[in-house]
């Protein structure tokens, strides 16, 4: 069994008026079936309101399914007795770096998770050191988070999750509020964790450039999984992606247009180098 598995997952937001009467029901997730294996790098892609963040919150047991089941490492998230174990196994990094840093010093923030888990003091220090080194923020350990750039703050947040020794990290649009350099930093850190530590990464994003490193991509639309497959497969359906209001990387778009006008270019070109190779032939 994989690290994360969902079966027929449905989640509904219920809107109520001031008296508490039900005004309307929005189905944010509709019949999601997901299987993620340990060590995978999964990207979940989708337009605003497609339900991707709602899905992320189910993996961390912040939201519970209306119908269906979510298992994290074999544990049902709806069962209360597993709650803290699930949250330790599946860490979560949120969008806004300022709103998830609790400590006033970088090292104290990274230590927050282990403190909550009841880890002995000596081991907390070891974990903080190794986590900060894993994201390349060790030399900033004594700094105030307010002095760091967005990308650095997000890396501190990631370190805070790693210090809890999770099997899986869910990154919920970690780069949405960052500049291009910060985005690269964060994605590099996530990839390194996946490669070196073999932590399962679930990256939720709407930037297409960030999914090319994933080994599996899910595209969501209106609460449903619209497409799934390797990045190459996803990008070979340019028209469909456009219909889902997603921006295709420029290289992929160029290759697609070239193919349409008669050149023999393969589908699913992801990088400049690939396109150059393809055109040489």
């Amino acid at each position: 069994m994989g690290i994360i598995k969902t079966r027929d997952l449905i989640y509904e937001y219920i809107r109520r008026d001031e008296e508490g009467n039900v005004e309307g029901i929005t189905r944010a997730l509709d019949d999601i079936n997901l299987d993620v294996k340990q060590g995978d790098f999964v990207a979940i892609l989708g337009h605003n309101g497609s339900g991707k963040s709602t899905l992320a919150k189910h993996i961390n047991a912040i939201l519970y399914p209306t119908e269906g089941t979510v298992w994290v490492d074999g544990m049902d998230t709806a069962r209360e007795e597993h709650l803290w174990e699930i949250r330790q196994k599946a860490g979560m990094v949120f969008q806004n770096p300022d709103n998830q840093i609790i400590g006033q010093v970088v090292e104290e923030d990274v230590g927050f998770g282990p403190e909550n888990l009841g880890v002995p003091t000596k081991e907390i220090w070891e974990r903080v050191e190794e986590s900060l080194k894993a994201v390349g923020m060790y030399e900033f350990r004594k700094h105030s988070p307010n002095k760091l750039s967005g990308g650095q703050k997000q890396r501190v947040s990631i370190a805070g999750v790693i210090a809890m020794h999770p099997k899986c990290i869910v990154l919920d649009e970690p780069t949405a509020m960052l500049d291009p350099n910060g985005r690269k930093e964060v994605i590099r850190a996530a990839r390194a964790l996946n490669d070196v530590e073999e932590i399962t990464i679930i990256l939720i994003t709407h930037y297409m450039e960030e999914i090319i490193y994933a080994n599996k991509v899910f595209v969501m639309d209106k609460g449903r999984i619209a497409m799934e497959g390797a990045p190459k497969e996803i990008f070979s359906h340019v028209e469909k992606l456009k219909a889902l209001r997603l921006d295709v990387p420029q290289v992929t778009l160029l290759a697609h247009e070239l193919k349409k006008s008669g050149l023999s270019v393969p589908d699913g070109i992801l990088t400049c180098e690939e396109l150059i190779e393809a055109l040489k032939l």
């Binding site: 949250r87 806004n96 709103n99 998830q100 609790i102 104290e108 909550n116 003091t121 220090w125 002095k147």
Partner: protein, 298 residues
């Protein structure tokens, strides 16, 4: 754009009580917002700085009590000597202490004034209907000394302890109250989160203010009521954003397994060292001395 973010950054640093290494809280007259300091921590290395925050808290409380016990010149001399000694040990320049005094000058004058003119006793001089008595002079003088020592004593604590450390100390000291169902850990957590978010919210206030000024908002002119009204477009977005942040933070804390103070370990636990024991001893001797001096001279 670059400049603005830099300014906002320095604002955050200034308000964040974590002044750059080695330098004290250097006043910056350019920006009014920057002058809001919370707990004016003076960064340097001294015995007092390294001391356990619990010792400093207890000492401060004891010192304040001692100021109300002593009732004669000898007692005040002892209190003064003790204070001078601690200030010397803390390596905080005296001018920072004196700067802090400015805020109570008004209070000092009123308190001393009332005591000076309204104490009945042997009359020395009379101005119009006001009489100055010998007892009045004595009381006014003691009152002034008491207030000055009180403020200096407590500012030694805030100048030598980071707000974070202080919160930790309070949590530990008030720990026994947990049995009376006082949410000690929660209060301490709230305080440290507030400290973390003050610079962020200040930065945000600055941003909203600039955005509203750019659209023609006027925060400066008009009478008091008009000024207060003009703050509404500043406060409403600020509150909304603060609530949104609180919501996000609560979720982030839950995601990191926060479930209150139970089962929690500490990354930086407070452990008494030898110097803390010595400090407690010194405080005890000081208290005994204060009481003794009062008794002997009575």
């Amino acid at each position: 754009m670059e400049e603005q973010s830099e300014e906002a950054d320095s604002l955050a640093i200034w308000a964040g009580c974590r002044v750059g290494a080695g330098s004290g809280p250097v006043g910056n007259e350019e920006n009014m917002l920057r002058e809001i300091t919370l707990g004016q921590y003076y960064q340097t290395d001294s015995v007092i700085h390294r001391m356990d925050p619990r010792v400093k808290l207890v000492t401060t409380v004891c010192y304040i009590i001692s100021l109300f016990i002593v009732d004669n010149i000898a007692g005040y001399v002892i209190a003064g000597v003790f204070l001078a000694l601690v200030i010397r040990l803390s390596r905080v320049p005296v001018k920072y202490m004196i700067r802090g005094m400015k805020s109570i000058v008004f209070l000092l004058i009123i308190a001393a004034g009332f005591n000076l003119f309204l104490t009945p006793g042997e009359t020395i001089a009379t101005f119009w209907k006001l009489k100055i008595t010998r007892e009045g002079i004595r009381l006014a003088l003691f009152m002034a000394i008491r207030l000055v020592f009180l403020l200096m004593g407590s500012s030694v604590m805030t100048l030598t302890t980071t707000p974070n450390n202080l919160t930790d100390g309070m949590e530990k000291l008030l720990g026994p109250l947990k049995h009376l169902k006082v949410p000690v850990h929660e209060i301490a957590m709230m305080m440290s989160i507030a400290l973390r978010f003050i610079p962020i919210l200040l930065e945000e206030t600055d941003k909203i203010m600039k955005a509203q000024i750019a659209r023609g908002a006027d925060f400066e002119s008009g009478n008091l009521i008009k000024k207060a009204k003009s703050l509404v477009p500043l406060l409403v977005p600020l509150f909304i954003s603060a609530f949104r942040r609180a919501n996000d933070l609560a979720m982030a804390m839950e995601a990191r397994c926060y479930r209150g103070g139970e089962h929690r370990t500490k990354m930086k636990p407070l452990i008494y060292k030898k110097r803390d024991g010595i400090a407690y001893g010194v405080v005890l001797i000081y208290l005994v001395l204060c009481v003794a001096v009062g008794k002997i001279l009575l």
